[in-house]
Symmetry: C2
Subunit: 331 residues, 2 copies
């Protein structure tokens, strides 16, 4: 038996709610009621973080569990450059789950959500055999914006934000002390930082989309290979990317040798990166470069009839990477 | 290993999506994008249905699992008389879960959702050790409407739709064949029908709210006692209800004797009924009666300083029923 009643817990969680101009009714009813604005479209997405699948409690403090759960959900909003408005939390917790851990999870939400001036406005709590967090995020975009996975066009440049590979590297080394010892501490810290505190590219994409028009986009949640293949299939195009162009921290080359995994696998197969991959015309790409955005061109959309993602390796050989990343049903 | 890839499964589930005038982007992206209308407010709610908590597969066919999961979510919209617009599904399934069962769950959604001309427009799939369905429903209400749990006022009549007690009765008898044999088959069928196919009071409440003004409302998801106590606490009032006024099928009296449970416990403690309890002024209540709505007055909001729910039993004794029902953290 848990030491707190459901309604008492909900009452406590109310503390995390902060009024928002778009929210009519606050926290505590079964529904969240929001004002609509005719110049905007509403953007809604759902994301799950489950103990034993997405995290192990002995590997990740609960505050980070909360942070990562919300980061993953908000990243879906970043894909279309949406402004977050609020989020709802479905929390599954074991019956004897200490209340302090719930507070830690919500503290993790808050450290991230306060950056975007949003808070949890509702949700649901239920007992389970383990922790599960399903977050519904709500955001808005200008009505005229229309970015999907299916808009990639032959001739488009393929671009990715930030760097890739640190998250998969972190998962590889996190419980291997003999390997961690061999990595310089500043590098190790950077690797773990990206795993513990991924940051959704909300503000970056909002700004970028004021300056250029992009044709398709997705976030790197399961791995560059898997995620780009979603754009390729939705748009019915081939995407070619080049190993030599992939953005990664230079020290990953040494770490990949320590781990014994090819570097391109660490980079192309790394999920929960929450970087954004997008395609745009050459003309728009030139604008982007001139404006000095921190993005990397990694390939292009081709005129090939083949649908999928082709990686050109440094030695000139080629490999299809459509399955490189995480499949939630295969693990 | 499951026999289907995540993306293949999502592609299959796309068949269940039907275009809707408020949805901009259809099915398959990470986000659902919806048009906003300035005369309306958006209503969002989240509800969970978990194997081993809310259902056991050997007790409930998967089509009914889907139906009940969506009914519970939609019921939150009925509370405020919202018109459903769409829903998102977070599906947790075991790795070897047969694809046919996923189709059955979605068929269960469809049989209910098609009545409201809505369909699933997005969601998320993840592997788990058991089935879990978290549904985010989205609906709309006229902007001027403002019904919460906190609007109950002393002097209000307390009213409930339909009848109560069949669901708890069903749970009591479902695996007890010797008891089921003693119940006339038409009664047994009615009892099980309410358990297998609860129907959210969407259309009923939409119509009712065009005719009368109500001050507070909630759906009976955990039990009349627990749920009314939520209105009482949010509104800081006392609610008094009368055993002799409670609406139930007359044959439940006999069944309660067979089970050996007091009738009022079956009625006041029955959850997942998805009937609506609401309070309204005496004047509005008179209107409701004249219009012939199928509702039952079960009590009133009093001027007492005590906050909670008091049940006056048939023998004149009184009992507080604030905890009568289901607490998701205590089970």
């Amino acid at each position: 038996m848990i030491h707190i009643r459901e309604d008492q817990l909900i009452e406590k969680l109310r503390e995390f709610y902060k009024p928002h101009p778009r929210i009519v009714n606050g926290f505590g009813d079964d529904t969240v009621i929001m004002k609509e604005i005719p110049t905007q479209n509403l953007v809604i997405s759902v994301d799950a973080t489950i103990e034993g699948r997405h995290f192990y409690p002995d590997m990740l403090p609960y505050e980070q569990v909360g942070h990562r759960a919300l980061a993953g959900a908000l990243s879906d909003l970043a894909v279309v450059g949406a402004t977050p408005l609020t989020f709802l939390v479905n929390l599954e917790i074991p019956k004897r789950f200490p209340e302090i851990n719930i507070t830690k999870i919500y503290n993790g939400f808050e450290k991230l959500s306060s950056e975007f001036c949003i808070s949890p406005s509702g949700g649901n709590i239920t007992a389970s055999e383990r922790v599960g967090i399903v977050i519904t995020v709500v955001g808005e975009i200008p009505r005229e914006r229309n970015i999907t996975r299916s808009g990639a066009e032959p001739g488009d440049k393929v671009v990715v934000t930030g760097d890739l590979g640190r998250v998969r590297t972190a998962l590889n080394i996190i419980n291997r002390h003999e390997i961690k010892k061999q990595i310089p501490s500043d590098h190790l810290e950077e690797i773990l930082e990206k795993f513990y505190k991924p940051w959704p590219k909300i503000n970056f994409m909002k700004k970028l989309l004021l300056d250029v028009k992009i044709n398709s986009s997705i976030d790197i949640s399961d791995g560059l290979g898997v995620d780009l293949s979603r754009i390729a299939r939705s748009s019915q195009v081939e995407i070619v990317i080049y190993e030599r162009k992939l953005p990664f921290k230079p020290y990953l080359r040494d770490v990949s040798r320590l781990i014994g995994a090819p570097l391109f696998q660490l980079v192309v197969g790394s999920g929960e990166e929450y970087e954004i991959a997008f395609t745009l015309s050459e003309e728009e790409f030139e604008k982007l470069k001139k404006l000095g955005y921190d993005v990397t061109e990694i390939g292009e959309v081709t005129h090939s009839p083949h649908v999928g993602v082709r990686l050109v390796k440094e030695d000139g050989s080629e490999v299809y990477v459509d399955n490189m990343g995480y499949d939630h049903l295969r693990g």
